[in-house]
């Protein structure tokens, strides 16, 4: 076991693993790049609709079916289905496997983003919204000054859940030929090389934990009500 970890350490110490196409910086950049693009696309598709429906307090059935579909639809399967289809469109100048992974990641990220934003906005205390309207705020102001700030922690939690899931799952792009950290797992299995497999898993796990903790920190930082919330927590029971 100790011998194994020494080999892993040696892998990281080897300078040839830090340069070139299959070097760690390159694959890490590709992995993060595809993650960010997919998350941005999912946010553009999911969040405005979620905020609108939450504000109108309609569309609960849509939210429920989003959760169910998100859970039951395997990303690997989506990639497998989209991959041959993208190959039929030979116009794609992007590398093999990019778009199929992209589509699967957007579908993976949308449900948690949508559901958290939707429930966050919808469940804002109705009396607060009423009070805001009574004070003469326009619908737009009710949304931007009352509902969105109060719902922000949940909106951010949805983005964080989606981001961690996508960082973890982009790994599968390697099986379609698009380089990501999964490439190490893919190559390692093909060559029966446990050290390379482990390196792939380790880098993905570290990236997932950084994403989780980093977005958690960001969540607290951008929360406009954090001072109030903190004070509230300190009140004696």
């Amino acid at each position: 076991m100790i011998e194994f970890f020494r080999e892993v350490a040696d892998w990281f110490a080897d300078p040839t693993h830090w340069t070139g196409n299959r070097g760690l910086p390159n694959l890490m950049a590709a992995h993060i790049g595809l993650t960010v693009v997919s998350l941005a696309a999912a946010a553009i598709l999911a969040l405005p609709l979620a905020v609108y429906l939450g504000h109108k307090r309609r569309g609960g059935a849509l939210a429920v079916s989003m959760v169910n579909i998100g859970r039951a639809l395997p990303s690997f399967g989506v990639m497998g289905v989209v991959f041959p289809i993208t190959l039929a469109f030979s116009v794609t100048a992007t590398p093999l496997g990019y778009w199929a992974t992209f589509v699967a990641m957007v579908l993976l990220a949308m449900p948690p983003m949508f559901v958290n934003a939707y429930t966050g906005i919808r469940d804002v205390d109705a009396s607060l919204v009423e009070a805001a309207r009574g004070m003469g705020l326009t619908e737009r102001q009710v949304l931007t000054a009352v509902e969105l700030p109060l719902a922000l922690p949940l909106v951010m939690a949805g983005i964080r859940t989606a981001a961690v899931a996508v960082v973890a799952t982009v790994t599968l792009s390697a099986w379609l030929g698009y380089g990501s950290l999964g490439t190490y797992v893919f190559i390692g299995f093909a060559q029966r090389d446990q050290v390379t497999v482990f390196v792939g898993g380790l880098t993905v796990a570290v990236l997932a934990v950084i994403t989780e903790l980093g977005l958690g920190g960001l969540e607290r930082l951008v929360d406009p009500l954090r001072v109030i919330r903190r004070r509230h927590r300190r009140l004696p029971e």
Binding site: V197, G200, G201, V204, A205
Partner: protein
């Protein structure tokens, strides 16, 4: 890009075989997950201070990406071992199940427990005959989430050499053959839906008092 129905017709035997494997992997993982979760939930209920650490550890296990977890277990169990897949699958069910079991038992109203105690029931009887049945909807809700998630994760076990529907997906990708990948994906979604519906039916059967009585 059309579906090759003839291929599906020719491979019904393979599909049935994959269905059995996929279902077996799912059932084994959820059963062991339930067993371990139940034990840990009992610990957390008996000694409430342990609940924090238990959910923290299972939370960390839950955050580790499934593919990463597969690779971590490879040096322990080998490259293509059923154990590698199963340990990873089981570890994913724990957080969901423990949370639901503990929340379900704690959610039983105090006055109900008090009344049972007042009727002279022992603590053991109260747990088995009152708290557990009343917590059943929450527990089964947890099993539904765990089972549906596991069905999806089992498609990934193919990358460490296991079978199931993932084999169709992986081969569909390799041969760039839409039909095969589609069969694996649709079958996995169907299995998730069927298991989910079956658990809903089980919940109805387990909680006869929750059924609305028809007016006489």
């Amino acid at each position: 890009m059309t579906i090759d129905w003839a291929w599906i017709g020719d491979h019904l035997g393979d599909i049935w075989q994959a269905t059995r494997e996929h279902f077996l992997y799912t059932v084994i993982a959820v059963s062991f997950g339930l067993l371990i979760s139940f034990a840990l939930a009992l610990v957390a209920l008996r000694w409430p201070r342990t609940y924090g650490p238990i959910t923290w550890v299972t939370g960390v296990l839950y955050t580790i990406p499934s593919i990463a977890l597969f690779t971590f277990l490879v040096p322990v169990f080998g490259l293509t071992s059923i154990l590698t897949a199963q340990v990873a699958l089981v570890s994913y069910t724990l957080l969901i199940l423990i949370r639901n079991i503990v929340a379900g038992i704690r959610g039983v109203p105090d006055h109900v427990v008090e009344a049972s105690r007042g009727m002279g029931m022992t603590e053991r009887r109260i747990f088995l005959d009152v708290q557990l049945p009343l917590a059943m909807p929450a527990i089964i809700a947890g099993i539904r989430v765990a089972a549906v998630t596991t069905v999806g994760l089992v498609t990934l076990t193919v990358i460490i050499g296991a079978g199931g529907y993932g084999l169709f997906i992986l081969r569909g990708i390799g041969r760039r053959f839409l039909t095969e990948a589609l069969v694996g994906t649709v079958a996995a979604v169907l299995m998730a839906v069927v298991i989910d519906r079956a658990l809903v039916a089980l919940e109805r059967a387990a909680t006869p008092w929750a059924r609305r009585r028809r007016p006489a």
